[in-house]
């Protein structure tokens, strides 16, 4: 394992681990506030129980998210000091603002968790709302910083040195809107469907259980709109990538040759040596239509740049197929849930096929998030800053990077196991 590959792997593991907790930290407070609000409106104690359980569960997940997020902020320097030396002044802005959002989140989470008896109901609810809002805001700031790596802006390069720095322009870089939108929606969809899926699974065994009914309703209320609109945001992102990162688009579609009226490839395995994508189902002109909303548009292929500027195409292509496939399943599921709920309110609790379809979807949102980040990050390679700095030039001179990679992987593996056990106990110990 080369040091560069070890560093990339450590970063990948850290991001893959953190993103789950970050997404939960964005969406879970919404669920818990809705549960508390329902309790205060209806007086139904089951909602209170739900709010308290979700709050306790969130507290564990938030702590792990806060700690793994701290690891990432250090790892930017521990693994990529040259990148930070260069990009710090440009992407520091969203990170500083994120710091304050993170502060607000931590403060009000403490107040929410420990303040049930100390503050008025209205203030307690407001504390929950503050957690939810600052959660999504801090997510948006971090994704803005990532987006800058895809579409760097806010500086001029003079002899390889960034001058005329404008941190504001850098923060609001071209990719920031589509990327933050896609990730924020994903957080609600993934967390919501994961929670709904768990309770759907329980409801299949015990359809009358009010606790699981309430829990699934609230989770679906958050997840379903997000699942349905996500393809629209995905389309926006894809068209953006087509325009700004044509090599990434070519990789995620397995498009080796520049082509007018390019087909959309579903599945298939890109072969970087023979420069073709085999075994794919091709929809004629589909890619041109999706990427540019014009069936005859020209799509740039990977051959438009040197092979040294390609990412690992099969990884990007397959990850993209997984993300889109899961996204489509969830969008269709969202429509099904909506139709079923509109027909009869309680229908969704008794329809075993629908409950099964929801239960199966439980891990899908997070799997789609992981796949999506694989597309974003691997698809940008070999660049750490698209077109400006190569990942290989950013890595630390520290030798034997395989050691920290192994240590942090082990640490995360251990934490993952413990968190799973703890949450399993949370869920299994359901009342009634």
């Amino acid at each position: 394992m080369t040091d560069l590959f070890a560093a990339r792997s450590q970063m990948a593991i850290s991001l893959a681990f953190h993103i789950v907790f970050a997404a939960v930290g964005i969406a879970m407070p919404v669920l818990m506030v809705i549960a508390e609000w329902r309790w205060r409106r209806t007086g139904d104690e089951v909602y209170l129980d739900l709010a308290k359980r979700w709050a306790r569960g969130s507290a564990i997940l938030f702590a792990v998210g806060a700690m793994s997020g701290t690891v990432l902020s250090f790892e930017l320097g521990l693994l990529w000091p040259e990148f930070m030396r260069y990009a710090g002044p440009l992407i520091g802005m969203p990170f500083s603002l994120e710091g304050f959002a993170f502060f607000t989140e931590a403060i009000f989470l403490g107040i929410y968790l420990y303040g049930w008896k100390r503050i008025s109901p209205a203030r307690h609810m407001l504390a929950g709302v503050a957690v939810a809002v600052s959660g999504v805001v801090s997510g948006i700031f971090v994704v803005m910083a990532n987006s800058w790596m895809n579409t760097p802006a806010g500086f001029r390069l003079v002899d390889g040195v960034p001058v005329d720095i404008d941190p504001f322009v850098a923060m609001l870089n071209p990719g920031s809107f589509s990327q933050t939108l896609h990730m924020s929606i994903a957080a609600y969809a993934a967390t919501g469907i994961a929670v709904a899926g768990i309770h759907a699974f329980m409801l299949r065994r015990d359809p009358a259980n009010v606790f699981h009914r309430h829990a699934m309703s609230i989770a679906l209320f958050v997840a379903v709109p997000a699942m349905i609109v996500q393809p629209v945001s995905g389309d926006l992102s894809a068209r953006f990538v087509a325009q700004w990162q044509p090599v990434k688009l070519a990789s995620l579609e397995g498009q080796f040759q520049t082509q007018q009226g390019a087909p959309l490839r579903i599945g298939g395995i890109p072969d970087m040596d023979s420069r073709q994508t085999r075994y794919a189902v091709e929809i004629p002109r589909g890619l041109s239509f999706l990427a540019f909303h014009d069936p005859n548009a020209t799509v740039k292929g990977l051959n438009s740049v040197n092979r040294t500027d390609w990412p690992h195409v099969p990884t990007v292509h397959i990850a993209f197929q997984i993300m889109v496939g899961l996204g489509i399943y969830m969008a269709l599921l969202g429509v099904w849930v909506t139709v079923a709920a509109l027909r009869t309110r309680s229908g969704i609790f008794t329809d075993r096929r629908l409950l099964g379809a929801i239960a199966v979807a439980a891990p899908m949102g997070f799997a789609a998030i992981e796949a999506g980040w694989t597309v974003t990050e691997v698809g940008r390679q070999p660049w750490i800053i698209q077109g400006v700095m190569r990942t290989a030039d950013a890595v630390t001179p520290m030798p034997a990077l395989v050691i920290p990679f192994a240590v942090f992987s082990l640490l995360y593996l251990m934490l993952g196991v413990v968190v799973t056990v703890l949450l399993y106990r949370h869920i299994v110990k359901s009342p009634i």
């Binding site: 320097g77 040259e82 502060f103 100390r118 503050i119 504001f168």
Partner: protein
């Protein structure tokens, strides 16, 4: 001599203030973990419960100060951040592991539905990581203060470049000093959190013992500085601010101990926090205008002006949200005698 109130200096001051807040607040949370580790006597269980209860609502907010230090450092002083994270790669990595283990173990123990099952293992990890993390934080600060960062050429061997700067007497003495200081802060704060319970006396005794340890560690580190960090020692001892700084620090220490002795716990808390603050600021003044002594001054390491301007505005806007929220948090959980509720 340029003006003191340059943009770069304001940003550096913000880093220092954040680090101070981290030490004074989160440092005490780590110190709490040390006392969890050292819990003893007939009220062992009550001591641990008090610690968990005192830390619970605030530790995550307190932790964020460190994130702010890191973020401000890489935004406003990117070359300094790059250099530190390269040469202190190993200890910073170890510190991170300590931070992660401490935080997660605490949360696992505090929020588990069936605490008895995880309590023992998580408690040990929480306590152990609480000892190691401050030690390494102190070592990193000591390595910076001693001026050994950025001195070794890029061609030097792995040990010379990545280990020698921090595996040295002075940084290690600073690590021990940080550990004793955090432990002292925690014991003092816990006398307030305990309210009028017997555990209060336990922590009063512990605070007085820790005060002795801080005294010994401080003079040990200062003595070693004479040999291993002569520049730092010289500015600490012979600057025009030396006398007021040392008098003020000494006075805070004396007040803290006297207040503990006389059982004026709130005064002891304020004095102990003041003492820690003055120690940190003494270090900062001693190395001013350097940010990494011997390698970068604050100006040399600072980001372009546009970034600094933006950072100052972000700090102002952020503080407008942060300070009222923090005030609310601490008023809720830290003003009255903290009874479980």
């Amino acid at each position: 001599m340029t003006s003191l109130f340059t943009l770069a200096n304001i940003c550096a001051a913000a880093v220092l203030v954040s680090l101070t807040a981290y030490v004074v607040l989160a440092g005490a949370d780590f110190g709490g973990g040390v006392w969890d580790f050292l819990a003893s006597g007939e009220r062992k269980r009550e001591q641990r419960e008090l610690i968990a209860h005192a830390i619970g609502p605030v530790w995550e907010a307190n932790h964020v100060w460190l994130v702010l230090v890191v973020v401000l450092l890489f935004t406003c002083f990117p070359p300094a951040f790059a250099l530190l994270s390269t040469e202190l790669n190993v200890p910073l990595g170890l510190m991170l592991i300590g931070i992660v283990l401490r935080g997660c173990a605490f949360a696992f123990r505090a929020y588990d539905v069936k605490p008895s099952a995880t309590e023992h293992a998580a408690g040990r990890i929480f306590a152990g990581a609480s000892v190691i993390t401050p030690l390494i934080l102190g070592i990193c600060v000591g390595a910076i203060a001693s001026g050994s960062i950025g001195k070794v050429s890029a061609n030097a061997g792995t040990y010379a470049r990545f280990f020698a700067p921090w595996i040295a007497p002075f940084p290690i003495a600073c690590g021990i000093f940080a550990l004793t200081l955090f432990t002292f802060l925690a014991a003092v704060y816990l006398t307030v959190d305990a309210g009028a319970t017997p555990v209060r006396e336990d922590f009063r005794t512990r605070a007085l013992l820790a005060a002795v340890a801080v005294f010994v560690a401080a003079f040990g580190a200062l003595g070693l500085a004479y040999y291993f960090a002569p520049d730092l020692h010289k500015s600490l001892m012979t600057s025009m601010w030396t006398l007021p700084q040392q008098l003020a620090t000494g006075a805070a220490a004396v007040v803290a101990i006297a207040a503990l002795w006389l059982r004026h716990y709130i005064i002891a808390r304020v004095a102990a926090a003041t003492q820690a603050t003055l120690i940190l600021w003494g270090w900062a003044m001693a190395q001013y205008p350097a940010i990494i002594p011997g390698r970068y001054t604050i100006d040399q390491a600072s980001a372009p002006r546009a970034t600094l301007v933006f950072s100052v505005w972000a700090l102002v806007a952020g503080s407008a949200v942060l300070f009222p929220s923090l005030w609310y948090l601490f008023r809720l959980f830290k003003t009255r005698n903290s009874s479980p509720g």
